[in-house]
Amino acid sequence: MAKLWVVITREYLERVRSKWFIFMTIFGPVFMLAVFVLPGYMTMRGLKDAQVGRIHILDATGTGLGQRVASHLERQEQNSPLAKVPGAVPALPSVVEPVNPRGLAAAESIATRLVMEKQAQGYLILDSLTLRAHKVRYAGRNASSIAQMGLIESAVRQSLMASRMQDAGLAPARIDSLTSVKVDMTAERIDDRGRGGSGLVSAIFGVVIAILLYMMIMIYGQNVLRGVLEEKMTRVAEVVMASVKPDILLAGKILGVGAVGLTQQLIWFGSAALLFGYGATMAKAMGVPQMQGVTLPTISAPLFLALVFFFLFGYVLYSAMFAAVGAMVGSQEEAQQAAGPVVMLLVSSVIFIQPIMLNPSGTLAVTMSLIPFTAPIVMPLRMSAVQVPTYEIGMSLVGVALTCWLAIWASARIYRVGLLMTGKRPSLRELARWIKYA
C-alpha cells in the first residue's frame, strides 16, 4: 500500500526530526541509568541493616554472656559489607550492663527511656531463662528489621555456644577460633540449558528488560495518543481521511511511531554495546576495579524472539488503545483523564515486578503472564528469571495476539467515528454504538 507507506514515512520523519526525539535519545540513557543506579544506591543504603548500632545489653546471667554477645556483635560489624564502604561511620559499640536479676525491671525501664531518648537503638535482656531455655528478649527501634534481629540472634547463639564450650573445658582462645566462621555464599542459576550465570544478575537483567519494555510502550503509546489528538484537534484528520481510509491512517501512525521507538532502541543498544566493548578498557585506565563474576546472561534465540514478539504485540495493543482514547476526547486535559484506565492496565504490570521476581513461578506471576494486558511485560520478566514452560509462553502469545487484533478492530472503529466528532466525550454506551455502527 503506497498510501500506508506515505503515512508511515510522515509519522516517522516528523518525529525523528523533532527536538523531543533528539533530547530523549541523548538523555534517555542518563535517565535510565538513574533508574537503575538508584536502586543500587538504595541497596547500599540498605546495607546499614547489616549494622545493629549501639544497644544496651542487660546481663542478668552473671556469667559474662553479655560481654561475649557484645564482642560478637562488634566482630559482625567489622565484617559487614558496610564497613568496607569508604567513608562509612563505624557504629558505636554496644554497652554491657551487668544487672542483678531482681533489679532487672528497673534496669529495663531505664533502658527504655534511653531508647526513647535515642541514646541507644534498643536493649537485649539476657537472664537465667537464656541459659536454661535459650530465650532472649529484645526491645528497640529496630525490632522490625529482620536482618538486624537475625544478627542479634546469631550473636547470642554463638555466645551461648561459646559459653557451653567453655563449660566443656575448652580454652577461650580455641573457642574464638572455632566459632568465628565466616561464610560467603554465591548463588547461581541452573535451568534446562544448564548453568545460567549468576541468579542475581539474571534477575536484574529481567527487571531491566521489563522496565525498558514498560517505558517504551508507555512513551510511544502516549505518543500515538498525542498524534491522534493533534490530528483531531487541528482538523487535519478530515483532510487526510478524504485521501486514505482511517484504518490506514491509524495503522500508519502506529507503525510509524513504533519505528521511531525501534530506531531509538537501536541507537541506545548500539551505543551500549560500544560502551561495553570499550568500557572495560576505559574502566581499567581510569583505575576502576574490575567487576568480578559479572557475566551478562546469554539471551537464547527463542528468548530473544519472544522478547521481540511481546514487545511488538504489547506496543501495538497499547497504542491501539491509546489511539482510540485520542480519537474520542477533545482536549489534552480530557486525554489525561480518559487515558487513565489504559495507563492503569500498563502500570499494573510493573507494580508487581517485585512479588513476581520473588516467586517467578507463583500463581501471581503465572496469572499475570497469561493476562493479555500484563503479559507483554510480565512474560519476558518471568522468562529471564526462570524456565517458563513452552505451552505457557504459547498460550500467552496467542492471548496477546488475539487481544491485539480485537483492540485494533475496536479502536479502528472508534477512531473512524471519533475523529470527526466534536463536543462531549462519548459515554460507554455511545462508544459501543460507535463500534457497532462504524
Binding site: 498510501k3 487541528t234 483532510v239
Partner: protein, 321 residues
C-alpha cells in the same frame, strides 16, 4: 469522461433517531460549478462527507467520476477542502503539501515542482521570503488558508469539493478563490461547493441545490431555478409622464398583480400566467415612451428565504460577502 461528475441516488444518513440526510438525489454534470446551499445544520457537510466516503450512507449509492465512490482510484481525482480547515501545525509548509500530494498518488518530485509553482502564484514565495520553509504555525491565518487551498488542488483533481470555502476568508483570498474556481471551470474541471452565502452562489454557480433539514428543497440550473421559483416581475421606466393610459394598463388586474409606482419608475408584479411581452406591446401601442422594460428575477437569496423560511431557518444564513 463520464457525463456526470457526481451522481447521487437516494442517499440517507441517520444518527440514531436523527436523520441528517433524507433520500437525497443529485446529479452534477461534468464541468459544472455546483452550489450546495442550505442553512447551518441542513446536512451539507454530512452529504459532502458521504460523497468523499468519509462516512457511509445508510441507503443509496454515490457514483463519482463514473465509479462507485468506494473506489480508491476515483478518490485520487477528487480535491477536498473541509469546512474546518487544518494542517499539521509543527510541520514545514512544503512537507505538509508534499504529504498531501503523495496521499493522492503524486510522486514526491512532481509534487515539489507543483508546490513551487503554486507558492509563487499565491505569493507565498517571493524573492525576499520563502514561506515554504516555515512551519505552519508561523504563518498568518490568511497564508494558512492559501496553503490549505494549494493542498486541495495540488494533485490537479477533476472534481473539487469545497465545504464552505468562503467562510473566514479575507476579501483578497475570497477573490483569489473565485478566480480559481472560474479558472478550474475553464479547464473543464467540476467544482462543487457548499455555502450559505447566496451572493457567491448566484455569481459562481451554474446549478444549485438547496437543502434544509436533510431534505432537498429544490435543484436545477440557477436560471431555471429563478425562472421557476421567482415571480413574474418587470421593472419599467418611462421617459416622460405616462399619463392616464399607462395607469389604466397597469391597473388591469388580469395581467398585473401589484404595482409599486414611483412616478417614472414602476416595479410590476405580473399575474402568474400573464405574458410580459403582451404588456410591453400594450405599453408601446399606448404611446408611452418606454426607456426600460426588464424582466427581473428574484435573487437566489429571495428564493432561498421564501423556500427555506417555511421549513424553519436559523439566523445567520443571509447573504453577504
Amino acid at each position: 469522461m463520464a457525463e456526470l461528475a457526481l451522481d447521487i441516488r437516494g442517499i440517507t444518513k441517520r444518527y440514531g433517531d436523527f436523520t441528517a440526510v433524507r433520500s437525497l438525489s443529485l446529479a452534477v454534470p461534468t464541468g459544472a460549478v455546483y452550489g450546495l446551499l442550505g442553512p447551518n445544520g441542513a446536512g451539507k457537510t454530512t452529504t459532502i462527507r458521504m460523497i468523499l466516503n468519509i462516512i457511509v450512507p445508510d441507503e443509496g449509492t454515490i457514483t463519482l467520476l463514473g465509479t462507485p465512490n468506494s473506489h480508491v482510484a476515483s478518490m485520487d481525482r477528487v480535491g477536498y477542502l473541509p469546512e474546518e480547515r487544518g494542517l499539521y501545525k509543527k510541520m514545514q509548509v512544503r512537507r505538509v503539501l508534499r504529504f498531501l500530494a503523495q496521499l493522492k498518488g503524486v510522486s514526491a518530485r512532481e509534487a515539489d515542482r507543483r508546490i513551487s509553482e503554486w507558492m509563487e502564484r499565491l505569493s507565498l514565495k517571493t524573492p525576499e521570503k520563502d514561506w515554504g520553509l516555515s512551519k505552519i504555525d508561523e504563518l498568518s491565518r490568511g497564508m494558512q488558508q492559501k496553503v490549505q487551498f494549494i493542498g486541495t488542488l495540488l494533485h490537479d483533481p477533476d472534481l473539487v469539493i469545497l465545504d464552505e470555502p468562503f467562510s473566514g476568508l479575507d476579501p483578497i483570498n475570497a477573490q483569489a478563490l473565485k478566480d480559481t474556481v472560474v479558472h478550474l471551470k475553464k479547464r473543464g474541471k467540476t467544482v462543487i461547493f457548499s455555502t450559505h452565502l447566496m451572493d457567491n452562489a448566484e455569481r459562481l454557480c451554474d446549478s444549485v441545490c438547496i437543502i434544509a433539514c436533510g431534505n432537498k428543497v429544490l435543484d436545477g440550473t440557477v436560471s431555471g431555478v429563478k425562472r421557476e421559483h421567482g415571480g413574474n416581475n418587470v421593472a419599467l421606466s418611462l421617459a416622460g409622464d405616462g399619463g392616464a393610459v399607462v395607469s389604466r394598463i397597469l391597473s388591469d388586474h388580469k395581467t398585473v398583480e401589484r404595482v409599486d409606482d414611483s412616478n417614472r419608475y414602476f416595479e410590476i408584479a405580473l399575474q402568474k400566467d400573464a405574458d410580459p411581452q403582451a404588456l410591453l406591446r400594450k405599453l408601446v401601442e399606448s404611446g408611452a415612451q418606454v426607456q426600460r422594460f426588464e424582466l427581473v428575477q428574484p435573487s437566489l437569496h429571495q428564493i432561498f428565504l421564501e423556500k427555506v423560511g417555511a421549513t424553519g431557518v436559523e439566523e445567520g444564513m443571509s447573504g453577504h460577502g
